[in-house]
Amino acid sequence: MTKSQRLFEVYRTGLVILISLLIAMVIILLVSEEPGEAMKLFLIGPLDSLRHIGNVLEMMVPLLFTGLAVSVMFSASQFNLGAEGAFFFGAIGAAFIAVNWNLPPVIHPTVAILWGGLIGSIFCGIPGLLKVKWGSSELVSSLMFNYIAYFFGLYLINYFLRDVNAGAMVSHRFVETSKLIKIIPKTRVHFGILIAAVMVVITAIFLFRTRWGYRIRVIGTNIRFARYSGINTDRAIILSQVIGGFIAGMGGSIELLGMYRRFEWQYLPGYGWTGVIVAILARNNPVYVPVAAFFLAYMRIGADIMSRSTDMPNEFVAIIQGIIIILIAATSFLSKQRHKMVVKEAMS
């Protein structure tokens, strides 16, 4: 990419975000009885108090992890959509350790998070394995695995971790030592955000500065070339899925230990799917993942705050997110302008 083209990409992304915000405005204007208030809350709400800023940061944490996970898996051009299941199932793994084990403070969450990551990596690794071994579509099997993770996870909670005295299907309380400490007073922002920041750096270094990351990127751009060059593509594909799964599993564990007292999810929490959006916005580049995660978290929190105090349901954010994906990934969006630029460069 030349510098001007890179600038063009930035301009394009900015324009897409602007367009989607405009569409958000239009929807609000059409639907709401109090559009002024709704828009104000949507745009300013997330920043108007420390707690709301905290909400945005809290929301970013799971998105950072699933965004990184999906980025790594997509970097190898594997459409593994199992981050959702890995996140959920990783959290279940962490819940076991958080409930049943007694360990010293720092060690306890560390073990739980690593264990959750391990489980996540197995979980995303299997569709990868099926793909390289027999060519079963990783897209289809990872989708099925999400449901398997969901039901199997609920089974484990119900039969092994369930607090029978609780009035809902939830696990026992986590042992205090397992929880991640809150780092900003008056918010729920927890230590996980620092782990996430470190993971962003590690993932970026992994993808761009190590031979394993190199192999994954080569496979992602041209797998036949990778094979031809002697790269063990099967191994690298599985590695990318396992690492993606590990990050997603870690994310699930960290979300759980940072934000909850017990395992309480009755549904797949959906962060895996949002991770796909984050990764697309970030063009699978870990360095941009925090920006994308922040943007999405901001929008979601804005919508929540808005829907709480006005008549706007927050689900409209899903529509905006969908539009963003389509436009960002639309290679021909503004392609005429881009082509003009190319023509100009070629002529000069």
């Binding site: 289809v140 099997s141 969908g322």
Partner: protein, 315 residues
């Protein structure tokens, strides 16, 4: 164990297998058409959801189930068309465009439901209609068989008839030939003046229409309301069913029935006190296992062919 077989061999069970297979079969046929045109349509899930809501809203407004069905199918086709627009015109990767459509469908249906019905969960405050059931005159009186095959929703019969239609369409009509040509070698099709884009648009629209039928069945046959996220992965399962069925109409039907079997089993087995989470997993596990077996067989077959030919050569 005997209780288990009592369940499986009852005609109620057979009936429910057909019932629960219906939406998957529609969507699997939708997946088939777009696959033949060389596009993976994972938006089936979202299309079904959108159509399910559309059917409910319009049948409630007009009081006519068939008008609701018409609108559901129309919307299904339109969403298929818009997937075409995103992937063929805007050149968004078709998987990502479909992820986006699914996302819009999940949030958007709740949003619209809220605007129309004032609820975010379920449409029960709308007086929506259901599509009629059909008793098949002679068949319904045959003991054992009658209760399995008679008395289904019209769309169930339509789904199984569609298998024939789609087979005929793909293999016996000019458009079917074009769709297959586009899917196999788009440059070849392009070079003889077949518009690849137009053909894919048509395929995606038909795919959307079929998913639209599946969605309408969900809210106007399978149950009589719309509730959030009610499609619950059936669109994804249909993709697996299509892959497992070897991308043929008959294969789609058989694998949809297989899935229907496990789904029906999951609903019945609870009465036998098997943990429901475990049983609920069955259809998905069955799908993955089926998919893997199918792909193993495919790779094995190629290997065997090569080995056999080699032996023949040495002799």
């Amino acid at each position: 164990m005997s209780a288990f077989f009592d369940i499986i061999f009852s005609s109620h069970f057979g009936y429910s297998v057909l019932r629960v297979s219906t939406p998957i079969l529609f969507a699997a046929l939708g997946a088939l058409i777009s696959d033949k045109a060389g596009v993976i349509n994972i938006a089936l899930e979202g299309i079904m959801l959108i159509s399910a809501l559309t059917g409910v809203i319009f049948s409630a407004i007009t009081g006519s189930a068939f008008f609701g069905l018409f609108m559901a199918v129309l919307f299904g086709g339109l969403v298929g068309l818009s997937l075409g627009y995103f992937s063929l015109n805007l050149k968004t990767n078709v998987i990502l465009a479909a992820v986006a459509i699914n996302l819009i469908a999940i949030g958007g249906t709740v949003f619209i439901l809220y605007l129309v019905a004032g609820d975010k969960g379920i449409s029960s405050s709308l007086a929506s209609k259901v599509l009629p059931k059909i008793n098949i005159p002679l068949l319904q009186n045959i003991p054992g068989i009658g209760p399995i095959f008679s008395g289904h929703n019209v769309l169930t019969y339509l789904a199984f008839l569609s298998v024939l239609f789609i087979w005929f369409f793909l293999y016996k009509t000019p458009l079917g030939l074009r769709i297959r040509a586009v899917g196999e070698n788009e440059h070849a099709a392009d070079s003889v003046g077949i518009s690849v884009v137009k053909t894919r648009y048509i395929a995606l629209t038909i795919s959307g229409i079929l998913a639209g039928f599946g969605g309408a069945y969900m809210s106007m046959g399978y149950v009589s309301w719309f509730s959030r996220d009610m499609v619950a992965g059936r669109g994804f399962i249909a993709l697996a069913a299509e892959a497992m069925g070897g991308a043929t109409p008959i294969g789609c039907m058989l694998t949809s029935l297989l899935f229907g079997f496990f789904d029906a089993l999951a609903n019945s087995l609870q009465l036998l006190k098997i943990p429901y989470e475990f049983v609920s997993m069955l259809p998905y596990v069955a799908t993955v296992v089926g998919l893997v077996i199918y792909t193993i067989r495919k790779t094995e077959k190629i290997r065997r062919i090569q080995e056999k030919a080699a032996e023949g050569g040495n002799a």
